[in-house]
Amino acid sequence: MFPFCFEWVWDIGHAIFFGGFWYAISILGAGMTFCILKAAYDTMNDSGDSHH
């Protein structure tokens, strides 16, 4: 899973597989981080309107 696991090899198989995996995970992580931070920001700047 990580390059420091002893069975890790830097080959094309690992590059594609974990490339895809970490890419997807980063998108999810970044998306959620953005949502949470923005929600915190919105809460602090709440002007009382709760439109959608």
């Binding site: 999810l28 923005k38 915190a40 809460t43 709760s50």
Partner: protein
């Protein structure tokens, strides 16, 4: 009693009635939980699996729930990426069903492995060439996506939504949902596919093995396609059941018809591909290894040609045609028949691709092996069903799952 939690303008049954219902299903759930602990503490000798049936009822259940849970990713894809706006009226429910299916699949896997405490090895010591590794990674990641898709709906609960932070969080998550849905579709494509690959790469098993494209056997694509085709069938089926239980119309007919139509066309195209695959396998792949088709369907007490016909014709072509034709699609009874047949069809396909593979003898002096699950296996397989019913009941009661509910069921101003 809990009326403060119930969505505004929605009518729900009384709390005691709800509690009794949950308690009944909860008893079944506890039975499954008991069996689960038996398996964990005493080991897999609690099952009727054996060295011929290393993969058995659980793996089938896993494949089946993931296939029928495919409605979530496919509906999400249509709703957020292809911008089919009507589907917003059923997407919440599709997500909840997907969430139940995938959490069940992960739970079943956790019971199924011989050393559950070592389950993380599949991630940590990943063999990237194994289809099962791909399944584990994409499945877990996609489960995270489903959780993310489910959260906004939870946050829309009347009380939770009063908290400004949660209100904003739900709003923001809706805003970027397309990104999550796209990631989910990507992950789903690969894990649905690699579940098919699990069978297709077993070149020691002539019943399973398929040729393919690069590293992916044809079963990879067939599984993805069938999940996208039959998943919506299951979503429609559960919606129909929920409507029957609640005695209310929850989703407008045009939405149902649309999803049924898409599902129908997916089924028809899938079944054509499946027929081609089956013919090629029966005429070319298997004979090249010395096996005739009849070898796989005779000389045993259960697996006959009937299963092939049931899967492809009765539960494939028939629902496909019923859903494609406008007149039958818009007839509630025939539509119900079609979605039930479709759901059975995809489950049957997964059964064949797990259990029949194990049953067929490969060495010429070997024998067929049939198997019947133990009660512990059955209880742990029913466990997710009970869990699903409870989760749906709770979600329906407290969350605004169906946006069209109020419009379709206006509450009379009189209170009882």
């Amino acid at each position: 009693m809990d009326s403060a939690l119930i969505p505004e303008g929605a009518k729900r049954c009384s709390f005691p009635k709800f509690t009794i219902g949950i308690a009944i299903v909860g008893a079944v759930l506890l039975w499954g939980v008991f069996a689960m602990f038996l398996c964990w503490f005493k080991g897999l000798n609690q099952t009727n699996m054996n060295d011929y049936y290393g993969f058995a009822l659980w793996i089938w259940a896993d494949l089946a729930v993931i296939a029928v849970g495919g409605g979530a990713f496919f509906t999400g894809l249509l709703r957020y990426i292809f911008k089919i706006d009507e589907l917003k009226n059923i997407i919440n429910f599709a997500v909840i069903i997907g969430f139940i299916c995938y959490s069940s699949a992960l739970l079943i896997l956790a019971i199924d492995i011989g050393q559950p405490l070592r389950g993380w090895f599949i991630f940590w010591h990943a063999n990237v060439h194994s289809m099962l590794t791909e399944v584990a990674f994409c499945l877990s990641a996609y489960f995270a996506v489903l959780t993310i898709e489910f959260i906004p709906n939870i946050l829309e609960n009347r009380q939770v939504n009063k908290v400004p932070f949660f209100h904003h969080l739900a709003h923001n998550m809706h805003g970027v949902m397309a990104v999550f849905a796209a990631t989910g579709a990507f992950l789903s494509f690969f894990h649905q596919g690699s579940l098919g690959g699990v069978a297709g790469v077993m070149y020691g098993r002539p019943f399973a093995v398929r040729e393919g494209l690069l590293i992916w056997p044809w079963t990879f694509f067939l599984f993805t396609w069938s999940a996208a085709a039959f998943g919506p069938c299951f979503t429609l089926l559960v919606t129909r059941i929920t409507e029957a239980v609640t005695g209310k119309k929850l989703v407008k007919d045009n939405v149902i018809h649309l999803l049924a139509k898409i599902s129908g066309w997916m089924i028809v195209t899938y079944i054509i591909a499946k027929i081609i695959d089956t013919i090629y396998w029966a005429m070319v792949t298997a004979p090249s290894l010395g096996f005739t088709l009849s070898h796989f369907y005779s000389n045993n007490g259960f697996y006959g040609y009937w299963i092939l016909i049931a899967e492809i014709v009765v539960c494939g072509i028939v629902p496909g045609v019923l859903l494609v034709m406008k007149s039958t699609r818009e007839n509630p009874t025939l539509r119900l028949v079609a979605i039930i047949l479709g759901t059975i069809g995809v489950c049957l396909n997964r059964w064949v691709m797990v259990l029949q593979i194990m049953a067929v003898p490969v060495m010429s002096f070997d024998t067929w092996a049939l198997y019947f699950p133990s009660w512990q296996e059955i209880a742990t397989t029913i466990l997710p069903v009970a869990y699903g019913i409870i989760l749906i009941a709770v979600a329906y009661r407290y969350l605004p799952v169906f946006p069209q509910e109020q419009e379709l069921n206006p509450v009379e101003p009189v209170t009882e």
